[in-house]
Symmetry: C2
Subunit: 426 residues, 2 copies
């Protein structure tokens, strides 16, 4: 399992490879197509069934028990611009190799599991080109509207439907009925590395939200307009950015992060004072009240800035994601599996969003982390060792094995829930 | 002269018209082409000679005295994005109508002037799409390199040569030999309006320079990266913008302006901390020492910000334009002409750059202003009244008349200089 996995992992990292060992493989680009073609070829070579749904999610399906729902393993192959080669890709490739391993083991042991097994490559988890992020899995679970998401445009005016069509991945296959989901991912933090722990069993996700901030000044000449006569949208926006950055200082360290990552200016000319700046503030914290309080402070600060500059600032909340707890039964399963394999494990929260956060809304879901060196991610120097990846692969394969035999369904008694969710997502 | 001029002025304002009475007619766009086609048609209808040179400057030439050099009147028909309909266009259209008037008067009085007369529409004065600004006239006078300017690209990667070729205005006509230049423009300030003065005789231009600032942080995940582990290029850039804005407070009010109008982020994704921000700071003051001192303070502030954020900030000076004095003889000519026409006049400085600043380097140049309501420009609500425009047209026509009879050449004795410049620009 290990040699083939590493070969494949490092091969996929060549699709959209950047000079500093990262990848640039944004959703539905030519580079994303390369990784998708690879996923399709892998599926075909194994004789599995390939499905592509109407939002570009790809499923590699293995039927052991005719008509039974599927346990899915997976993550996403798209990346941020100049992103790392581990984020997402690790989970998909580990999923494929875990599935291959499980299929072989079933044949060897000659047993029939309760559920079938599939591997998924979710569309546009990153959201760098098309916002919001976690798009494919959210459409799959019904928390985002498919029609609306297909109409989302990138900065060039190309929408999701057009972009998927252009690379040949706007499918119309039936979505598989799902009974459970497991995902493995890099931590994107320093906790596992610092404590030398192999596996993180993710217990909950942070409460997150974004704010769309529109600063409306007045366009004027940078040379000929007196300073007092200006309503400079960029100066006001700069103050907003600093307030967004500083708000975390009011809270306990490590409980909240905030930032502005996207910003556009109009007209963006060297000799014209900006008339309009629009920016996205990203706010994430350990619980909802912390986010709400930070948001309240920011809105107060923004109102002060608007008054001071005699300009209008519009703020809209969007992409609000409440804190999500992963099921206790899944945590216990990961802890048991890891212990049996002789590896170390600890519970850990996720500050970043993941496809598993969406899936957790409809089926019993397991989320696992492996260590990240230096805790950096969404950048070229993102790194996890081969050893970390192989440890995770082993744990994922064993967890998937347990799940197709009903580990979570049995422990949690969620049969009825499973039925509901299957209806909802088909 | 007045009715036809107003008809033409308001007609040209329909090319690239915006909903709020402005125009969007950036250099070498389809909208710019409309105004150029109009200029060409006007020239042809009058039976004048049209020339288009290799940087897209357009000349409408009237030969009275075979072989003599030309006095040029003019400005530019391009605009800022969502700019006003007066900036530049007024000077070109007034130039054409002044020339028409002068031609008719010469026929009537049956006299032969010393110089010929031309009207010019300079390419890309605004620099919004292709930086630097004042491009066409600077290439004409030899202070910018033609080959280099033809290679300048816009944000879409289209260069000047390609853009001019695409609209049919990459010419190769011989540049006219020039003996003098006169330009009339809106003030873009409040002085004339406040003092109810009809004409400003521009005595000098401010010292200006730009700084290219590149802030190099590290890309990371907005959710999963601890605040302390970040090197956020946008936070540091926001501080730079505020320092650029605040530096003017150290100087006497009205002697200096500063701003940032252009800025780009990479990767500009809502959930990624920016790795690189590049911005342009624009610094303009009443004299060179003031600009130098402001620049020194800004560089100190920027160094402090870089240290505080543990990131790299590169700063490069560019587009430095020293203070330029227009010739005293031209100022006196405008004062005399205006007084003879029974209108009021005062001397005034220009904070903005103009094509006349470039032309002033090689030939005796006259620059005039008419009042701007509220002093705003580079925006849709830029405004001057019909009466202001007609007053200016009368003064321009009389000034041009005096100049073709050698008013400035005689007074300043610059015949030798004229010869040099003619060699330089042919």
């Amino acid at each position: 399992m290990s040699h083939d996995f590493l070969t494949d992992f490092h091969h996929v990292a060549t699709f959209g490879a950047t000079p500093n060992h990262g990848v640039d493989r944004q959703a539905a680009t030519a580079e994303d197509k390369l990784s998708r073609d690879w996923f399709a070829q892998f599926t075909q070579d194994k004789g599995w069934e390939l499905r592509v749904d109407a939002i570009g999610n790809m499923f590699a399906l293995i039927e052991f028990t005719p008509g039974a729902p599927y346990i899915l393993l997976g993550s996403h192959l798209d990346s941020q611009p100049l992103g790392g080669r581990f984020d997402g890709a690790y989970g998909v490739i580990a999923g494929l190799h875990a599935a291959k391993h499980i299929e072989a083991r079933l044949r060897l042991e000659n047993v029939s599991p309760r559920f079938n097994l599939g591997v998924v490559n979710w569309f546009n988890e990153e959201g760098g080109r098309f916002a919001p992020s976690i798009m494919g899995s959210s459409v799959f679970v019904g928390s985002m509207d498919q029609h609306e998401m297909l109409s989302v445009s990138d900065l060039e005016g190309i929408n999701v439907a057009q972009a998927l069509e252009a690379i040949g991945y706007l499918g119309n296959d039936l979505r598989p009925e799902v009974a459970g989901y497991a995902e493995i991912h890099i931590e994107q933090g320093r906790i596992l590395e610092r404590e030398s722990v192999s596996i993180g069993a993710v217990d909950y996700s942070w409460h997150t939200q974004k704010l769309d901030v529109e600063v409306l000044g007045e366009q004027s000449h940078t040379g000929a307009t007196a300073m007092a006569d200006r309503h400079d949208a960029l100066v006001a926006a700069s103050k907003v950015i600093l307030k967004v950055h500083e708000v975390v200082e009011r809270f306990e360290k490590g409980n909240i992060v905030s930032s502005v990552g996207r910003m556009t200016l109009e007209p963006n000319s060297p000799i014209v004072v900006a008339r309009r700046v629009s920016l996205v503030a990203d706010l994430r914290a350990v619980d909802q009240p912390t986010v709400a309080e930070a948001r309240r402070i920011m809105l107060e600060d923004i109102a002060t800035i608007a008054k001071e500059h005699d300009i209008k600032i519009n703020v809209n909340d969007f992409d609000i994601r409440d804190i999500q707890y992963y099921p206790e039964s899944g945590l216990q399963l990961v802890e048991k599996v890891t212990a049996n394999l002789g590896k170390s494990v600890r519970r850990i929260r996720t500050m970043a969003g993941h496809d598993s956060v969406a899936m957790n809304k409809i089926v019993p879901t397991v989320m696992m982390f492996i260590p990240s060196i230096d805790g950096v991610s969404h950048c070229e120097r993102e790194f996890s060792t081969d050893e970390h990846m192989l440890d995770g692969l082993e744990v994922l394969a064993e967890t998937g094995w347990q799940m197709i035999f009903g580990a979570l369904a049995a422990e949690t008694g969620q049969d009825e829930f499973l039925f509901d969710s299957a209806v909802q997502i088909s």
